[in-house]
């Protein structure tokens, strides 16, 4: 039997130079990698927030697409569309950084897909948007990917799903961190339009990879 001690202290790890660099990088990420999580379920928000903070991300949770748009400055508190892009640009200039948006698909009012389209049509369009859904529907998945989603995750989302995303997202994030910190991480990436076609090919097999996980679950 293994033991989970609630009072356990983290073991000391001796610092070699490369480990020190890794730790610095990690700390930088911890301060900067900001995820906006959108889900109408309080239970799911709490779990996602935990998964993301365990993965060293800064997390902001909102319970609807409308609240997400408000947060990004794309709509004002009266739910009027910002007359010009200036409000969201101002938010970004003021230093509001969002490095990733993770949104549930099925939400009352604005769906995750609607939110995706709004974000992609705005000054936040370079921010990757990941859509989560409990339904493994190929047409839905394709619609989201075609709409510009970075990835599509099946719920319930697990720590391993986020870990799989990280290398791809953190690569361009780290590049921007070592360059000018004020530039939006995504604009320094090599032209996204080139990547879209290959990205879609790479991504579309992934949702079906969720299936094998089910086999694991039945081995009890």
């Amino acid at each position: 039997m293994l033991f989970r001690n609630k009072m356990e202290l983290k073991p000391q790890v001796s610092d070699t130079p490369s480990q020190h660099q890794q730790q610095q990088k990690q700390e930088q990420r911890e301060k900067h990698f900001h995820v906006l999580a959108v889900d109408d379920s309080e239970t799911d928000r709490k779990i996602l927030e935990k998964i993301l903070s365990v993965s060293s991300c800064q997390v902001t949770c909102v319970d609807s697409g409308d609240k997400a748009l408000e947060y990004l400055g794309l709509v004002d508190a009266n739910h009027q569309d910002s007359a010009s892009p200036s409000q969201s640009e101002r938010s970004q200039e003021d230093g509001l950084k969002v490095n990733l948006i993770m949104t549930d698909y099925c939400m009352p009012g604005m769906t995750g897909y609607d939110l995706l389209k709004r974000v992609k049509g705005s000054s936040w369009k370079e921010v990757p948007v990941v859509i989560m859904s409990s339904e493994n529907e190929p047409s839905r998945i394709n619609k989201c990917l075609e709409g510009g989603a970075e990835d599509f995750l099946l719920k319930p989302v697990q720590l391993s799903d986020v870990k799989k995303l990280q290398p791809r997202l953190l690569k361009s994030f780290d590049q921007s961190c070592t360059n000018l910190p004020d530039i939006d991480p995504m604009t320094t990436d090599n032209s996204k339009s080139n990547n879209n076609a290959t990205k879609r090919k790479a991504l579309s097999p992934e949702p079906s990879e969720r299936r094998p996980k089910m086999k694991e679950l039945t081995v009890l």
Binding site: F3, K6, S41, K50, S134, P156, E216, L220
Partner: protein, 153 residues
């Protein structure tokens, strides 16, 4: 009771919950996310779920009680319950929801009412089981012991 005995009881009880299908691997995921910075994480999430499910079940009961209720509305509520039960690993609740949604699609009111009763029952059962589990954990910790980690994946 000695700590070792408590730990053994806890391990056996946990195993039975998985064996009987009350919990699935998603619950283990939650346990693995819990750490010293948030030692009550699992209990907090489970609490949220039961608050949520109570509201949803009440809403379902009210809706199904109406003369000409909208199956779409019922389906939407069950979909929510299915989602959150899946998120915490409450497998039996989730399974009833799957059947429930099918009966909504079939527009079978009797079967829907049956599912409502079933889902109430399953929520009640898993709530009691988890409360017992958390109590056992507290007793072990209070006696200075550690919580056994169940390897089910």
């Amino acid at each position: 009771m000695e700590v070792v005995q408590m730990q053994r009881r806890f391990a056996e009880y946990t195993a039975s919950l998985f064996r009987e299908g009350f919990l699935d691997a998603q619950f283990t995921q939650l346990q693995q996310l819990q750490d010293e910075t948030n030692p009550d994480f699992v209990e907090e999430v489970v609490s949220l779920f039961f608050e949520d499910s109570e509201k949803l079940v009440n809403n379902l009961a009210k809706t199904l009680d109406q003369q000409n209720f909208d199956y779409k509305k019922v389906d939407a509520l069950v979909h929510q319950l299915k989602g959150s039960s899946a998120s915490i690993g409450a497998q039996r609740v989730k399974n009833v929801c799957v059947a429930f949604r099918q009966f909504c699609e079939d527009q079978n009111v009797e079967a829907c009412l049956g599912c409502l009763q079933q889902v109430k029952q399953e929520c009640f059962l898993v709530k009691n089981k988890l409360e017992t589990l958390f109590r056992m954990e507290q007793q072990i910790v209070a006696a200075g012991g550690s919580i056994p980690v169940m390897e089910y994946n």
